[in-house]
Amino acid sequence: MTVLSCHGVRKVFGDQVVLDGLDLDVSEHEVVALIGASGSGKSTLLRCVNLLEELDDGTIHLDGEHITDPRVDPDKVRQRIGIVFQAYNLFPHMTVLENVTLAPVRVHGVPRTAARAQALEWLGRVGLADKAYAYPDRLSGGQQQRVAIVRALVNSPRLLLLDEVTSALDPELVGEVLSMIRDLKSDGVTMVLATHEMGFARQVADRVCFLDGGRVLEQGPPEQVFAEPAEARTRQFLSRIIEAGRL
């Protein structure tokens, strides 16, 4: 079953064309990794899917519903999609528990006690139960990012978008976030992740999409894209990554 379907997506900032007729389909339980150079539109695509950016052309469907129809209430769509940002974006004036329970209580109408129990269970699963009453600035980057992922997950989203979730982390903290995402994959969470971690994309993704020139230039199973890329641009990109020691 197709969860997400992007068709001919175009996004322009000023005179810069970031997405130029991009097509992408994501099936249920599938994990898709978006790779590509900085500025290739990975983050922009995720922001478009979450309706944080307006399209300049094309359509996006979520579970068959046309969500880029201007008559659709974006708040209702965002309730079904979770997104995690590179800079965590936790609410600094709320404790970890308040961060996690805000949406369930205020948006989804979950009773407060139930929401707290559910949040504590999730935090326990990712080893952060003892941080429930701490403020975000007392947490390490890796812990903050795990809280941000939990904050998105408690709402049981149909689709989880991960935008460079390890790019702001110290190298020794990357592992804890990646292992959490690996667990989510085994839970069957449908995910689209923009990443610079090629090794991780190779391990966790069912499919890797290489973005170039505002389109998906090449896609396939990770072993195929990484080992025998068909396109010259993909080979060029991957060789630069290897030079930088990131593969």
């Binding site: 944080l52 965002r78 609410f91 998105a152 709402n155």
Partner: protein
């Protein structure tokens, strides 16, 4: 584990330095204080100034009336501060509304802050307390209420801009995070933006409240007797200025706790940032 000789030496040296700086501070304060007292009391006109500004008998006599006036200041401050903070927040929120439907609302709110920050308070006061009653409408409130309203109108213009600065200082990524969770614009404002914004601008908000405390006395221009006006009446009777000093001291005492709270909040905000 015991500290190394080097650490013990460092601690001893620091203790010595602390003691030394306390002694130096005490000595320099004493010297400056003595110099000031000598300079003022040694001035040729000191005796006449003391008589007309620091007469204990006059002070005692005027104190009850000045205190009665001060009670008016306190009541006015209480209600005007609440009114101006509330109205200021509402206007700031109206200015941040997006969408074409809200264009006239935005325009009005913007016009409001431009007008009442530019217009001198005294003119607003005269229009409200002398002009409005001239219309002879039914149910016109008392001069005190009208004067208080003038203060609220003027100060809410300033406070609205302080609130707006706070709202705009919250990073867009916070809005994105809140909206991406499915929160509506109103919920985002209420739970995510405003709590952070108000915390950030608490020091300037309190600062304006301290300024308001001194300006509430201006309603006496329209009749009601506040502390300064009470002092003026006494001075007019005795040609002695001591009542002004009494009122001045009371104002400082009244402002002190508010200023202390402001300093404390500012300090706490600064600590949070680091």
């Amino acid at each position: 584990m015991s500290a190394s000789p080097a650490q013990l030496d460092r601690l001893a040296y620091r203790r010595h330095q602390t003691l030394l700086s306390v002694l130096v501070a005490a000595a320099s304060t004493l010297v400056l204080g003595v110099l000031l007292v000598v300079a003022v009391t040694g001035a040729p006109g000191w005796d006449r100034v003391r008589e007309s500004f620091l007469d204990p008998a006059v002070a005692r006599e005027s104190l009850p009336d000045v205190l009665r006036g001060l009670w008016l200041n306190i009541r006015l401050l209480f209600f005007c501060a609440i009114g101006a903070l509330t109205l200021g927040l509402v206007i700031a929120l109206l200015r941040t509304l997006r969408g074409p439907v809200f264009f006239p609302v935005r325009l009005l709110a913007t016009g409001y802050t431009y007008t009442f920050r530019g217009l001198p308070l005294i003119i607003v006061l005269y229009v409200m307390t002398l002009g409005l009653p001239g219309l002879r409408l039914q149910g016109m409130p008392s001069t005190l209420v009208l004067g208080g309203t003038a203060l609220v109108i003027t100060y809410s213009g300033y406070l609205a801009e302080v609130f707006r600065a706070g709202i705009e200082s919250v990073h867009p990524s916070q809005l994105a995070a809140a909206r991406s969770l499915g929160l509506t614009y109103r919920q985002t404002m209420r739970f995510v933006v405003l709590p952070q914004a108000v915390r950030r601008v608490a020091p300037p908000l309190l600062n304006d409240t301290v300024a308001l405390q001194k300006d509430v006395g201006l309603v006496s221009l329209a009749g009601p007797i506040d502390a300064v006006r009470a002092a003026q009446i006494h001075t007019a009777e005795t040609f002695n200025y001591t009542p002004y000093i009494v009122a001045g001291v009371l104002f400082v005492l009244l402002a002190a706790p508010l200023i202390a709270v402001t300093d404390w909040v500012t300090l706490r905000a600064a600590r949070r940032q680091s």
